[in-house]
């Protein structure tokens, strides 16, 4: 009897132990759900950690993108519907309402939408639905070296007239007046628009002109004429300059040397040194002539949505998880996990007040008084890059303001008639590898190389290390325009094709090893795609000229990397135009 009782006790004890330990196990390592994908250009640890505080079962995976046209690439994801679970873009894409409704979930019925500033939501509404929710938004401004100003006792000008009066004083002190960022053609377009905003582009008249111009019922002269005259004044004063004036160096690089008063085109950070030491920079608005219409330019840095595929049968758990992530993204903490732009941005959530330590705190007075204009992009994206490029030429003295206006009229008319210029019609989505093959053969052809080693980025768990030198993104079934080419090729708008001389053996070894990237003590390896003419095999001892996208230090030392001087973008454009703009096909992937 006693044995029986003991036996029962033992069994009961085991069962109880099993139950409790199982519970503990469940508590410690919650069973993970299928990961949700999100596109981003760097790690999302912070966001993931925040989500897992409340929902430990949710994991995120990064679909990487470090390409040169985030807006275009993510817009194309939305147009085609080929997007990750959590969609992350810049603008609200209100000029693609049908595509938004088709490929994104309507979030307007969820409680977390009440957490946003309803005025911002109203601007993004499509037929009563909300397909993208705004994240933080940037403020584009001029910047000035506050340390220099303090040292010299200069007063920060509040109008262009005051700036004109101050400029001789600055120059007399041996300080350069301004440096200008001209990293991309888009910046050229923005400078023209920003100056126009200080005149009347945001006024009733200006907004009406924009509408009329984009419908072909007004001329560029009517809206931008005064702005070009005003831009000339800025150039004459020395506030705006082309890249050639500083020997092709980046504007911020010059500014951060500490002997320049103003920065036009944004700063990489608000202190001279990355560790926060050195001179301190502060924002100031784009100045109007008399100071009555000074302007900050605002741009939504992020917009978030959910793929409509989450609503398909079988995805119920993913949908639920994705909505939890959106709840987290609808908080200050959640949105701030994406604040990698100098920790300075404005929130789109209700009840937000700025921290005095925020570098944008000095902007708030004018922002709240309505002295701001949205970045001009939607509706102009078909031709703003070319116009912007012409503005950069104008800054470099290669054309006149009238030339810029004439080109703007011409491009707008063409766009209205034919849409953006397309070099090829892409028939389907081409994977990263396929895009790398095409890039390899085009670049190789352009520089007369023998083969090409093109690295390719890949889906990652955390996205902390990404391949910024190779192919990220891919070609989608859409007309292949300048913007789209730039969004996939590693050289972007202005980059040139790099070559290296390696032996066949070396090439094959690198192909095996992959492109190794080190960052913060961690290493990631990205695969190479090797493209050879006619698909020929390489001989170990023969030296070849190799186009390379993604070369580490070792390769550089081994092969003497050379800048061919040939623009990658131009190579792509020439490739298709020389062939009569054929539709994209698999045949074109073969380097023959």
């Amino acid at each position: 009897m006693k044995m029986k009782k003991a036996g029962y006790a033992l069994i009961i004890g085991m069962i109880l132990t099993g139950i409790f330990s199982g519970t503990a196990a469940a508590r410690d390592g919650a069973e993970k759900h299928e990961p949700l994908t999100i596109t981003y250009s760097s790690g999302i640890d912070a966001l993931e950690a925040l989500v897992q505080e409340s929902y430990p079962e949710i994991d995120l995976e990064v679909y990487p993108y470090t390409g040169r046209n985030w807006s275009r690439f993510t817009c194309d994801q939305m147009i085609t519907g080929e997007m990750p679970d959590i969609y992350n873009t810049t603008l609200a894409w209100l000029n693609y309402p049908e595509e938004m409704k088709a490929h994104l979930l309507d979030l307007s019925s969820y409680a977390f939408t009440d957490l946003y500033d309803p005025n911002l939501l109203a601007q993004q509404e499509v037929d009563g639905g909300l397909y993208l929710l705004p994240g933080n938004y940037y403020v584009y401004s001029l910047a000035y070296n506050a340390t220099l100003f303090e040292e010299h006792g200069w007063k920060v000008p509040e109008s262009f007239e005051e700036l004109e009066a101050l400029a001789p004083e600055i120059e007399a002190a041996g300080v350069d007046l301004a440096a200008t960022n001209t990293d991309s053609a888009g910046q050229g377009f923005q400078y023209m628009c920003n100056l126009a905003d200080t005149i009347d582009l945001t006024s009733l008249k200006g907004v009406k002109w924009q509408r009329d111009f984009l419908n072909g019922n007004a001329t560029a002269e009517e809206g931008f004429g005064e702005a070009m005259d005003y831009m000339q004044k800025w150039i004459d004063l020395g506030m705006l300059e082309g890249s050639e004036a500083r020997g092709g160096r980046r504007g911020f690089e010059v500014f951060s040397e500490g002997n320049t008063a103003f920065m036009v085109g944004g700063v990489d950070r608000w202190t001279q040194n990355e560790d926060g030491t050195g001179d301190v920079y502060e924002p100031m608005p784009y100045l109007s002539m008399d100071g009555t219409n000074n302007m900050y330019i605002t741009m939504m840095s992020k917009n978030f949505g959910l793929s409509a595929k989450l609503a398909e049968p079988g995805n119920e758990q993913k949908l639920e998880d994705a909505l939890h992530v959106m709840e987290v993204l609808s908080t200050f903490e959640g949105q701030n996990t994406f604040n990698n732009y100098n920790s300075s941005s404005i929130s789109s959530l209700r009840g937000w007040t700025i921290d005095e330590a925020n570098p944008l705190a000095p902007c708030m007075e004018l922002l709240q008084a309505g002295q701001s204009a949205p970045l001009l992009y939607t509706g102009w994206e078909g031709f703003l890059a070319e116009v912007g490029g012409k503005v950069l030429d104008y800054l470099n003295g290669k054309c006149t303001g009238d030339d810029v206006l004439a080109l703007t009229d011409e491009l707008c008319a063409k766009f209205l008639e034919n849409g953006a210029y397309s070099y090829s019609e892409v028939d389907r989505s081409y994977s990263g590898e396929e895009t790398a093959m095409l890039t390899g053969r085009i670049f190789g052809d352009a520089v007369g190389a023998d083969c090409a080693l093109i690295s390719v980025d890949r889906l990652q768990a955390d996205g902390r290390i990404q391949d910024g030198a190779g192919i990220c993104g891919y070609m989608m079934p859409l007309p292949l325009t300048d913007e789209r080419i730039v969004s996939v090729i590693p050289t972007g708008w202005n980059g040139t094709i790099q070559t290296v001389t390696l032996s066949g053996k070396q090439i094959n070894e690198y192909k095996e090893k992959g492109y190794v990237v080190e960052k913060d003590g961690e290493t990631a390896v990205f695969p190479y795609v090797l493209v050879t003419k006619g698909g020929a095999a390489l001989e170990d001892d023969t030296e070849y000229t190799v186009v390379v996208c993604g070369a580490d230090g070792e390769m550089g030392a081994a092969g003497n990397i050379t800048d061919s001087g040939v623009s990658g973008l131009q190579a792509f454009k020439d490739f298709f135009e020389d062939r009569g703009n054929p539709p994209m096909s698999e045949e074109l992937l073969n380097w023959d």
Binding site: D106, L107, P118, N119, A122, G128, L130, R350, Q368, G370
Partner: protein, 880 residues
């Protein structure tokens, strides 16, 4: 024994069985009642929701339409002002905010320029955050402006100007394209907030596709979470098998829809309304357990009670049936007993009622007796007092016959006492006639301005004598022609005004305001005659019985103020006969306010009031320290087509006259109150004349007798005088004569040839009256013959050559033959040259009765004494 046992067992079985059946029956009844009542409950909930939301929605709709009206008025006034500079525009906006009391609701009058920059009383603002709605605006637009300088957004009610207005600001030029108002969404939110159902409700302002336009941070409930309420409801409806699209279809058709839905596990009832005056949809939503709580509770109780009652009833019935055979008293005996009990109870009731009635009658009789005793005491005192005075002063006069001045003085006092005695007797007689139904209301066509002006004339002397501050004005009086018993109306108003003056000390204020109330039925007009004084007031106890006869606040031997205690009773009776109401508010020591509300039929205006072309679009300035007077005259001037402005300050009037001249947009007419605190009206006129010259008419408007200051005023530049209250027809008449003044109280120069060759027979028994009238008539170029009584007048006419006399002015109260009889005699004469002679009655009585009596006697017209000279001349013109 066996049978007994069986019997008991049967009883027990019967009881148990009956109980079970009763419970079953009760449950069935509950189910039945619940099913029947649930749809009724739902109906009731919907009805209640509909009623509550109707109040909210209607109130909000009205307010929104008011906002549009304000916006339109501001636009019109801005266009009228033709301002030159931004600064003057901002001053205009400040004034508009002040006049409309916008500050209370934080509303702002607003102008918007071609850049999309707003201007308010605070100055020029930054460009509006969203100018798109203005681009597409064709006539008017409403939108929500996100103004980050404020914690909440503004709703904009904006009109596009037909003509853009250019303003200068230094060297710059701003063109105003829009005008309107901005209303904080918080203020709009208060219109929708409802404390019904203990505040357990949410109201949402939505766009047409269901997106929230406004988030009420004070709404602790917030039942519907999510940006687009319609999309939330679509999702929930799909889950719950409801058809939300049908609800929206109903909304589109009817503009209002009600339904219910479950939100977060709570059954909610909601109403959605499409607003008419703005492009919004409003949703009101309530948890169902809050709606018709009372009804639901009652119904639940009913259901429970039904079940319990049914159970008990059935059980009781079962018991009754079981024991029916054991009843040991016959039904008939029970009925008989019951019947006699009922009869006894009824008799008791009748006796109690009779006793109560007898007690009440006793109390009433006691009260009446006491009141009559009091009245008789007072009356005897009040009658003895003047009688003593009459007898006393008569005796004194007899003993001072040689002292003419003293005798004159005594005779004057005898007259006063006689008049007072007469009024006492008249009041008593009036009351008696009223109570015996001998007084009837006789309605005829009357002219309200005449009634009010006559009243003012009658009161003028006493007002002046007692040095009272007097105001008399009108508010919104559109209908001046009415059908009423002028005699009785005058009696009512005079009674109350007399009391007001009687009980107000010198230096106090007495006033009459005539208000025409809106929403009277077609063909009728509703008036409030409000008489207010700052006199001694009355206690609350007395106020409640003021209209009862024979009552007075204090005994006249104490207060020294004489009266019968019948005046108010008479007044009330007359008002009741006219189907009106009379109410009184009073505070002891502070004064009283009587309001007589009457409805009259209206007649067609004799004179159609239209825009005066010669004055259309011209500016007019009103200066009066009474804002009510200003706004009343302003409205009238607008109807006439002018652009009126007003001020309550004499000094400001002078300044504005000067400024208007400098702006090259001068005022075409000035209407100035005589007595203003900061500057006397005459002085104002003098200074304005200094700025504008002599051409523009300036009219003095006053409730007082201006004869004493008339000379000085004319020297200062006053063109004419107008008596308050000013009626629209009078103003129209005055201004119609090219901004000149025919029809006002103007002493026109009389053309001496106008009545040349005409002769008047003046009949009056009082020599003094004859002397005065002759002088006036001869000054007008008339020749005058006189007679001392009616008999002389008839004989004169009979003997004269036909056509010798052109008109007869006949007094009525004369010895030997009165005026009525004389007129009848004349009218009987054979020769038309005599019988057709125009005869005008002259009487001291101003009432319709007298006029009618004159007409009945064959006279042509009636002139009430004391008559204005111009009235006499006008009469001459009419009949000569």
């Amino acid at each position: 024994m066996e049978r007994k046992k069986r019997g008991k067992l049967n009883i027990a079985l019967g009881i148990v069985g009956g109980l079970l059946l009763a419970v079953l029956f009760g449950l069935l009844m509950v189910r039945f009642v619940r099913t029947r009542l649930s749809s009724m409950v739902y109906e009731e909930r919907m009805n209640q929701l509909s009623e509550i939301t109707a109040q909210i929605f209607d109130g909000t709709e009205w307010k929104i339409s008011q906002y549009w009206d304000d916006a339109a008025e501001i636009m019109d006034r801005f266009l009228d002002e033709s301002l030159p500079t931004v600064d003057s525009a901002i001053s205009f906006l400040q004034r508009e905010d002040r006049l409309r009391r916008f500050e209370e609701e934080k509303v702002n009058a607003i102008l918007i320029d071609e850049d999309g920059r707003p201007y308010t009383s605070a100055g020029m603002g930054g460009i509006l955050s969203n100018v798109e709605p203005l681009i597409d605006c064709e006539e008017q637009v409403s939108f929500i402006n996100d103004d980050k300088t404020k914690p909440q957004n503004d709703a904009m009610f904006i009109y596009q100007l037909n003509t853009p207005i250019a303003l200068t600001a230094g060297n710059a030029r701003k063109t105003i394209l829009f005008a309107g108002i901005s209303v904080p969404m918080d203020t709009i939110g208060t219109l929708f907030r409802s404390s019904s159902y203990s505040g357990n409700n949410s109201t949402y302002i939505l766009s047409k596709d269901g997106s929230k336009l406004f988030v009420d941070d004070t709404d602790s409930e917030d039942i519907v979470e999510g940006y687009n309420v319609y999309n939330v409801f679509r999702k929930l409806s799909e889950e719950q098998g409801l058809d939300f699209e049908a609800v929206l279809d109903n909304l589109n058709e009817a503009g209002l829809t009600l339904s219910h839905i479950e939100v977060d596990g709570r059954d909610c009832f909601y109403a959605i309304r499409q607003m008419d005056h703005i492009d919004w949809v409003v949703m009101y939503i309530n948890p169902g357990d809050q709606v018709a709580q009372g009804t639901v509770a009652v119904v639940s109780s009913v259901i429970r009670m039904a079940g319990i009652s049914a159970t008990l009833l059935f059980f009781a019935l079962a018991l009754v049936l079981l024991f029916a055979g054991r009843a040991n008293r016959s039904l008939a005996e029970l009925r008989a007993e019951k019947k006699s009990r009922e009869e006894l109870h009824e008799l008791n009731g009748q006796l109690t009622q009779a006793k109560q009635a007898a007690e009440d009658a006793y109390l009433a009789a006691q009260y009446t007796n006491q009141a009559k005793t009091t009245f008789l005491n007072n009356m005897s005192h009040d009658i003895r007092t003047p009688m003593n005075a009459i007898i006393g002063f008569t005796s004194l006069a007899v003993t001072h016959l040689d002292d003419r001045e003293t005798v004159r003085d005594y005779l004057g006092k005898i007259m006063v006492s006689s008049e007072h005695l007469l009024s006492l007797i008249n009041d008593v007689l009036d009351m008696s006639r009223i109570e015996s139904g001998k007084v009837r209301i006789e309605e005829k066509e009357c002219f309200l301005p005449s009634i009010i002006h006559d009243l003012r004339n009658i009161l003028q002397t006493d007002i002046k004598a007692k040095r009272l501050d007097f105001y008399i004005d009108t508010v919104d009086v559109e209908h001046e022609g009415i059908i009423c018993d002028k005699l009785r109306l005058n009696q009512v108003l005079l009674n109350i005004m007399s009391n007001a003056m009687k009980f107000t000390k010198p230096g106090g204020t007495v006033g009459l305001r005539v208000v025409e109330k809106p929403h009277a039925p077609e063909g009728f007009a509703d008036y409030d005659f409000v008489i207010k004084d700052t006199g001694i007031g009355m206690s609350e106890e007395f106020r409640q019985k003021i209209f009862e006869p024979f009552t007075r606040e204090e005994n006249s031997t104490v207060s020294g103020i004489q009266g019968t205690g019948l005046g108010m009773a008479i007044t009330k009776n007359i008002v009741d006969m006219m189907n009106g109401t009379i109410t009184v508010k009073s505070k002891l020591g502070e004064g009283s306010e009587f309001t007589v509300s009457l409805r009259f039929r209206t007649t067609e205006q004799k004179q159609k009031i239209t825009v005066i072309k010669d004055l259309e679009g011209f500016r007019a300035l009103i200066a009066d320290d009474s804002m009510d007077s200003c706004t009343s005259v302003e409205k009238m001037l607008r109807i006439i087509g002018m652009r009126p402005e007003w001020t309550t300050s004499g000094k400001e009037a002078v300044y504005r006259a000067k400024y208007a001249t400098e702006q090259n947009d001068p005022f075409r007419v000035y209407i100035i109150d005589w007595l203003m605190p900061d500057m006397n009206g005459v002085e104002v006129v003098r200074r304005i004349r200094g700025e504008i010259g002599d051409q523009v008419p300036i009219i003095i408007l006053t409730a007082y007798d201006w004869s004493e200051i008339e000379k000085e005023a004319r020297e200062a530049g006053v063109t004419a005088f107008c008596a308050k209250p000013l009626f629209l027809s009078e103003l129209y008449s005055i201004l119609q004569n090219a901004g000149g003044i025919a029809g006002a109280e103007v002493e026109q120069e009389i053309d001496p040839d106008e009545f040349k060759g005409k002769r008047v027979l003046l009949v009056d028994d009082v020599e003094l009256n004859r002397e005065i009238a002759v002088a006036i008539l001869e000054e007008a170029g008339l020749e005058v013959e006189t007679a001392e009584n009616g008999r002389e007048a008839v004989e004169f006419i009979q003997k004269m050559k036909p056509g010798y006399v052109d008109l007869v002015l006949m007094d009525i109260m004369m010895p030997i033959m009165d005026g009525y009889q004389a007129a009848r005699e004349i009218r009987k004469m054979d020769d038309p040259a005599y019988s057709q002679i125009p005869i005008i009655a002259m009487t001291a009585n101003a009432f319709e009765e007298d006029r009618q009596a004159a007409l009945d006697a064959g006279m042509n017209d009636h002139l009430a004494k004391p008559f204005q000279i111009e009235q006499l001349y006008q009469m001459m013109r009419t009949y000569l």
